[in-house]
Amino acid sequence: MRLSFLLPLLIVLPLLTAFLIPLIDILAIALRKILVIISISLELVFSLSLLFYFSPLGKEKLPISYYLGGWEPPLGISLSLNHLGLIFSMLVSVSLFLITLYSLEYIEHHEGKYYVLLFVVLGAMQGVVLTNDLFNLYVFIELLTVASTPLVAFDRTSSAIEAGIKYIVYGLLGGLFFFIGIVLIYLSLGTLSLAEIALSFSSLPIPFQETVLIFFIISLTIKLGIFPFHFWLAKAHSSAPAPISALLSGVMLKLYLCVFLRLFWVVLDFPLMEASWLKSFVLYLALGSSLLGHLFAFQEEDLKRLLAFSSVGHIGIIVAVLLVNTPEALYGGMLHIINHLIMKSALFLDSGYFLQFTKSHLIKDLKGVFHYNRYLFASFVIVVLAMIGIPPLNGFFSKWYMLLAFVEEGIHLGGIVVILGSLLAIPYYFRVISYGISPCEEKPVVSLSQDPPPASLMIFTILALVVLTVVTGIFYFCLNPILDGAVQELLPLQIYPPFPGGS
């Protein structure tokens, strides 16, 4: 209870910053950068202190909760933090910290509005992770959509605007289906608190439960960009500015995965879903979507679209492995959530640095671009190797656990998709690298003799992410206490065999 005051603070601090930025813009525009840096650092400090207190060092016990307005759960809204929430809250804080630092040098116009929207997105993300009320969850999901749409269309080129329109239409549809699910639950159960729904949901008749599940599944497949609805994702993620691409593809998709985990495992009746056709349907849909994503990435000519389609592939495989629902599968899935967040953010930020020097995002225009900064080129190669799954790096371990989980449960198609995904990733990433290092014949946009623009913060962010890639690869077992806690929360209370990697 002592620490629970941090929970509303994590949400309100970014919102307060967002409200203050327009005021600062009018009064003293020079202070804006300072405010942004202070606020994002405070957010990181709060989040890391939560992590410290709940790690084995800090000896505090999860879960904690906070009643907003002093009203207990059925009456008001409460926030709560468990292991799952701790992982995602920390991931959001760390990645948003790095993305904000990167943006300080990358964004050149409309900075004020950009940071307003970025901080609203940060607050909404923490809200999605922490809230314990179904309708509040809807409000924060819509807040994410509203705040990220202008960011997608931020460049205001033709393709960015089209991407924004697509993004908001799919976002609206997903939100509407989510709302229908909420209405159905409220009309039948008379409550909105997640804990109460979890208690009484299984008392409803089974066809009705399935209907509610279907509405939430439609909503989340739209938000996650799984197969029938994956078109918006590549367009939106590739047309946005680089930090926003990293935000959408790296962080926001993981956040919807968090919603997916919380809704279907904790709140709605997972045994029912497991018993009916829904589980295997979504599982094979996600596997197909994964394969399709990698195939699309394979034939893609545009670097950012390639990365976005690769995200489709990875999200599909994560959804599939989570639905296998053994401890190993959940462990592998969550490890891959963390790793994919780090790797994809690093790739988008890295490519964002290099694409500043090219005339288009096409791979064939990348010629010689890696000569601008050899260190960043090396980091790009390291992250690509991690993405493919080369042993000492982080991608390998999560892919390995996912593979094991699929094979143990006898879903061999899943194992095949994991391996095929890695195999397909080799040629499409190496095509990028080979174009990047080949000596350029034409004159590039910025000549090589001229110094590239100063970008120390950008380089620092990318290198930090690469260091994280290596560290989470070699020391991935340091995450085990939290991951095991999260896996335990998701499983029904039964004795399961010991976890991979030991606990």
Binding site: V146, P150, I161, L172, L173, L176, Y186, L187, K235
Partner: protein, 110 residues
């Protein structure tokens, strides 16, 4: 019977959203869907009581459930800001394409 009306309204909006190729008409279809869901929500929780405003001189009145009304109010405001953002994007798009037809704009076709 009432509910079938809202259902048909919902499906009408859905058809309108899926089959219309004009961006503005598409969003009107969406609005119809949203409105039908809200109407259904509010009307279903109406139990024939009074509006949920407590009168001090008439204690003990039967009041309707206030929560769906509050939720609907929130949902309306959210939908309104979404639509405003959407229309802004359409205005921006008109700088590049003199059409609001989905099929005529290459990037929106699928």
């Amino acid at each position: 019977m009432n509910q079938l009306f809202f259902l048909s309204l919902f499906l009408l909006g859905f058809i309108g959203m899926l089959l219309n190729r004009n961006l503005i008409k598409l969003i009107i279809g969406f609005e119809i869907m949203e409105a039908s869901v809200l109407l259904w929500f509010i009307s279903f929780t109406n139990q024939g009581g009074n509006p949920p405003i407590y009168l001090l001189d008439k204690p003990g009145m039967v009041l309707n459930d206030p929560l769906p009304q509050a939720l609907a109010l929130t949902a309306i405001v959210i939908a309104a800001s979404n639509i405003a953002l959407f229309l802004t994007l359409v205005i921006e798009l008109s700088r590049y394409h003199k059409a609001s037809d989905v099929d005529k704009i290459k990037g929106l076709r699928d």
